[in-house]
C-alpha cells in the first residue's frame, strides 16, 4: 500500500503538472489574502506552499482548496438527545478554522452522516465515509457501542476518528483520538475529593445496566476499598429506560450512605432525580456525586430537582477563563442564547482543533503522519484551559467538581491541581 501511494505522488508532481498548479495556486493565494483577515494570512501562505501531492499521498479527498472530513453522529433516534451538542460544537470549530484560513491552506468541507442511534448504521456510514468519500478524518460517535461498531472499519481502512465522549477506558487504537476523559481521570480524583473534603466514609454505587456504568463503578469500588480504605454499602444497576426508582430509594434510605455515587443515563436520569427529591432526599440532607450529569442532562431533569448535587467533569460551561468565555459567546451566538454546553460538547469542539494541529505539525493530511505527529500536541486555546495529547491517544486534562445551581449551571468548587494523566488500562482496577 504505501509504495503505491508514493508512486502516485511522484506522478502527480511531474514538471508540467506542478507548473500549472503553481500558477493556479498563486491566483487563489492572492484571492485568499484579499478575502481573509490579516491574522489568517500567514497560515494561508504556509499552507499554499505545500502542493496537494505533498500533503496527500494516500488518495484522501483533498484538493488544492478543500479538504473533506466526515461527521458521524445520531441526528435522529434516541441518542439525538445527547449527540446534538457534539454536532453543533464540531461545526462551530470547523467554521472558525475555515474563517481563519482552514488547514494547510485548505477549507474544510463536511460530509455529515446520520448514525440514527443504530450501531450497524454507524458501521455502514463509517464505511461509506472512508471508502467512498475518502475523508481525511471523521468526528463522530457518542456511545461506546457505536464506537465499538465502527472501530474495526477504521482500523482496516486506516481512517482517523476523533471521539468526544468520556467513557470507560480499556481501549486504545492507533486510529482513534479520545478527546473526552477515560474513566480513571473522571473517577479517582473525584472520589479523593469526596473523602477528603466531604469526609464521606461510605458510598452507595448506582448505575444504568451497561458497560460504561459497570466498568466505572468497578474502578470506583476498587479505589474506595483498596486505596481510600472506605466502605461501599451498596451497588445497584437498573435497566436503561427504567422509570421507577422508589424501591432503590428505600434501599438507599436503609443503607444511609455518606455519598451516593450515581452513573445513571438517559431518560432514567430524569426519573431518578425527580423521585429522589420527592422522597425527601435533597442536597441539604444528602451528599451525591455523579459522573453522568452535565448541563445538557440538567435541561431534562430541571435545575430545581438537581440543585446542590455534585458532578465530576473536566469542563463546565461556567469555567472562568478567557478561552471559555470566547467559546461560550461564539456557541450562543450561533445556536441561540438558551443553548447549553456540557462536558462532551466541549470535548467535541476540541476534535477539529486537535486534528488541525496534527496536520500542521505533520505537514500532511495522511493518517499515519498525523497520528505520528499528534502525541505531545498542546492546545492552549481549549475552553477547558489546556490539554495535551498523550502517546496513548487520550488527553491530559484537569478534573473539576461542579455544584449544581437551580438555574441549571454548575459552580466549580474544586479543581485538580495538576493535569491528570490518562490511563485507559489502569493496573489493579480490573
Amino acid at each position: 500500500m504505501p509504495f503505491d501511494d508514493q508512486h502516485d505522488a511522484s506522478d502527480a508532481a511531474s514538471p508540467s503538472d506542478s507548473r500549472e498548479m503553481i500558477s493556479l495556486r498563486r491566483r487563489k493565494l492572492l484571492l485568499g489574502i484579499a478575502a481573509a483577515p490579516a491574522l489568517a494570512a500567514p497560515a494561508f501562505a504556509f499552507g499554499q506552499s505545500m502542493s496537494t501531492a505533498q500533503v496527500n499521498t494516500t488518495k484522501l479527498a483533498v484538493t488544492d482548496t478543500e479538504v473533506t472530513v466526515g461527521q458521524l453522529h445520531s441526528a435522529t433516534g434516541t441518542m439525538a438527545i445527547s449527540e446534538t451538542g457534539s454536532i453543533q460544537a464540531e461545526r462551530l470549530a470547523i467554521d472558525q478554522i475555515n474563517a481563519a484560513g482552514g488547514v494547510l491552506g485548505r477549507k474544510i468541507k463536511i460530509i455529515q452522516e446520520d448514525g440514527a442511534s443504530d450501531w450497524p448504521t454507524f458501521a455502514e456510514k463509517s464505511k461509506k465515509l472512508l471508502e467512498n468519500d475518502h475523508v481525511a478524518c471523521v468526528f463522530g460517535c457518542w456511545t461506546s457501542a457505536s464506537r465499538k461498531a465502527v472501530l474495526p472499519i477504521f482500523e482496516r481502512d486506516n481512517g482517523l476518528l476523533y471521539y468526544p465522549t468520556f467513557y470507560e477506558g480499556l481501549e486504545q487504537s492507533k486510529n482513534v483520538f479520545y478527546t473526552g476523559q477515560e474513566a480513571t481521570q473522571q473517577i479517582l480524583w473525584g472520589l479523593n475529593w469526596a473523602s477528603e473534603t466531604k469526609k464521606a466514609k461510605s458510598f452507595f454505587l448506582i448505575g444504568s445496566d451497561y458497560i460504561w456504568p459497570r466498568t466505572s463503578n468497578k474502578i470506583a469500588r476498587k479505589h474506595i476499598e483498596d486505596h481510600l480504605h472506605l466502605k461501599v454499602v451498596g451497588e445497584e444497576y437498573y435497566p436503561l429506560g427504567q422509570t421507577n426508582f422508589n424501591s432503590l430509594i428505600n434501599k438507599i434510605k436503609i443503607a444511609k450512605p455518606d455519598c451516593i455515587y450515581a452513573i445513571i443515563v438517559g431518560g432514567s436520569n430524569v426519573a431518578f432525580y425527580k423521585q429522589l427529591k420527592a422522597a425527601g432526599i435533597t442536597a441539604d440532607k444528602q451528599f451525591l456525586l455523579t459522573i453522568s450529569v452535565t448541563e445538557d442532562e440538567v435541561l431534562g431533569i430541571g435545575g430545581e430537582n438537581f440543585a446542590g448535587f455534585y458532578s465530576a467533569m473536566k469542563y463546565f460551561e461556567s469555567l472562568d477563563n478567557a478561552n471559555n468565555k470566547a467559546f461560550v459567546a461564539a456557541f450562543k451566538a450561533k445556536y441561540g442564547p438558551k443553548s447549553v454546553i456540557g462536558d462532551v460538547t466541549q470535548a467535541a469542539y476540541l476534535g477539529p482543533w486537535l486534528w488541525k494541529a496534527g496536520c500542521e505539525k505533520a505537514g500532511s493530511f495522511d493518517v499515519d503522519k498525523v497520528v505520528a505527529a499528534s502525541p505531545g500536541i498542546e492546545l492552549k486555546t481549549a475552553p477547558e484551559g489546556y490539554v495535551k495529547i498523550h502517546p496513548n491517544h487520550h488527553l491530559w486534562s484537569r478534573t473539576r467538581i461542579g455544584m449544581a445551581q437551580p438555574d441549571g449551571q454548575f459552580k466549580v468548587v474544586a479543581e485538580s491541581p495538576d493535569l491528570i494523566e490518562p490511563n485507559p488500562f489502569p493496573k489493579g482496577y480490573q
Partner: protein, 305 residues
C-alpha cells in the same frame, strides 16, 4: 436499625408498590380501551403519552410568563388540554389510517409503529432533540412527612389520585353510558350492532380517540415523575402491552388486576434483588402465568368471530 425505621421503610416500600401500580394502570388504561376493546395494536400509544407531556411543557412555559399564581395552578388545566389534544389527534389518526386496517390486525401493528417513528421525529423537529423540563408547581415536587424518617412523595400521591379518577371514569363510561353500551355491543358482535342501528364506524373513532386522550392524560401526569423528550413515550410502550395482555385483553378489570400484580412483583423483587434481576423475575412470572392462561388473568366472555 430500630423498629420505627423498619416500620417507616415498610410503609414507604408499600407506597412504592402502590405508586408503581398507579403508573402501570395509567399507561395501561388507554391501551386497554384501544387494544382490548377494538383489537388495534397501537404501537404509537407511547407517543400519544408524549403529546400529553409536551402539552404540560408548553403550558408550564406559558404559566411561567404569567407569574407565580399561574405556575401553581396551571396543571389541572394542562391535563385537560392534554386529553383534548391527544383526543383530537387520535380522532384524525383513526380517520386517516386506522379505519382502513380494522380487518388486518397485524397491519395495524406495522402502520402504528411507523406512525410512532413519524411522531417522534415530529416532536424532535418541533421541540428539539433534547429533553425538556416543565416547571411544575413547587407543592407537587416535594415529600410529605407525617413522621420523622417517613417521606411520602407528593407526586406519587398525585399520580395515584389521577389513576383512580381515570379508572373510575372509564368504568362508569363503559358500563353506565350510551357510548359504553355501543362500544360493548360493537365488540360483542359488530354485524348485529350495525343491524341494530349503532353507527359502529363512529363508535370506533370515538373509542380510539378516547383511548388516545387517556394516553395524553397519563403522559401529562408522568412529567411529575419522569422525563419529557421525543422518545419518552417509548419507555412505557412495553409495560403498557404487558399490563393489557397479562390482564386479559378485553377486560378492564383485568387491566387493573394485572397492573396491581405486576407492580407488586416488580416493586418487592426490586427491594430484595438488584434492579435488573427484578425485571427478570417479573417477566418470568408473567410468562409462566401466560403459559398456563394464554387468555390472560380475566378471560372475556366475548365470542370471537
Amino acid at each position: 436499625m430500630s423498629a420505627t425505621d423498619i416500620l417507616n421503610i415498610t410503609l414507604m416500600q408499600g407506597f412504592a408498590g402502590l405508586s408503581l401500580f398507579s403508573v402501570l394502570l395509567l399507561i395501561g388504561l388507554g391501551l386497554a380501551v384501544i387494544f382490548g376493546q377494538m383489537g388495534v395494536i397501537n404501537m404509537a400509544h407511547g407517543e400519544f403519552m408524549t403529546i400529553g407531556a409536551y402539552t404540560v411543557y408548553v403550558f408550564s412555559k406559558w404559566a411561567e410568563s404569567m407569574g407565580v399564581v399561574a405556575t401553581n395552578t396551571f396543571l389541572p388545566l394542562a391535563i385537560l388540554a392534554a386529553f383534548a389534544i391527544a383526543f383530537v389527534f387520535g380522532w384524525i389518526v383513526e380517520w386517516l389510517l386506522i379505519r382502513h386496517l380494522y380487518r388486518r390486525q397485524l397491519d395495524t401493528l406495522l402502520a402504528t409503529w411507523g406512525l410512532s417513528l413519524a411522531m417522534q421525529q415530529m416532536f424532535r423537529s418541533t421541540f428539539g432533540p433534547k429533553e425538556v423540563s416543565p416547571t411544575l408547581p413547587d407543592w407537587l415536587m416535594g415529600s410529605w412527612s407525617p413522621a420523622p424518617g417517613l417521606d411520602i412523595p407528593i407526586n406519587g400521591l398525585f399520580v395515584m389520585c389521577l389513576a383512580i379518577v381515570l379508572t373510575g371514569g372509564v368504568l362508569i363510561a363503559m358500563y353506565r353510558s350510551r357510548w359504553g353500551l355501543r362500544v360493548r355491543a360493537t365488540v360483542n358482535n359488530r354485524t348485529m350492532a350495525n343491524a341494530a342501528g349503532i353507527d359502529t364506524k363512529r363508535t370506533d373513532r370515538l373509542t380510539f380517540a378516547i383511548g388516545c386522550g387517556m394516553a395524553g392524560v397519563a403522559g401529562a401526569a408522568f412529567t411529575t415523575i419522569g422525563s419529557t423528550g421525543p422518545t419518552s413515550g417509548s419507555l412505557y410502550i412495553v409495560d403498557s402491552f404487558l399490563v393489557v395482555t397479562f390482564g386479559g385483553a378485553a377486560s378492564l378489570l383485568g387491566t387493573v388486576a394485572s397492573a396491581f400484580g405486576i407492580a407488586q412483583t416488580q416493586s418487592i423483587s426490586e427491594f430484595f434483588l438488584s434492579g435488573s434481576s427484578a425485571r427478570v423475575v417479573t417477566l418470568l412470572t408473567v410468562v409462566l402465568i401466560l403459559m398456563a392462561r394464554p387468555q390472560g388473568l380475566f378471560a372475556s366472555k366475548v365470542r370471537r368471530v
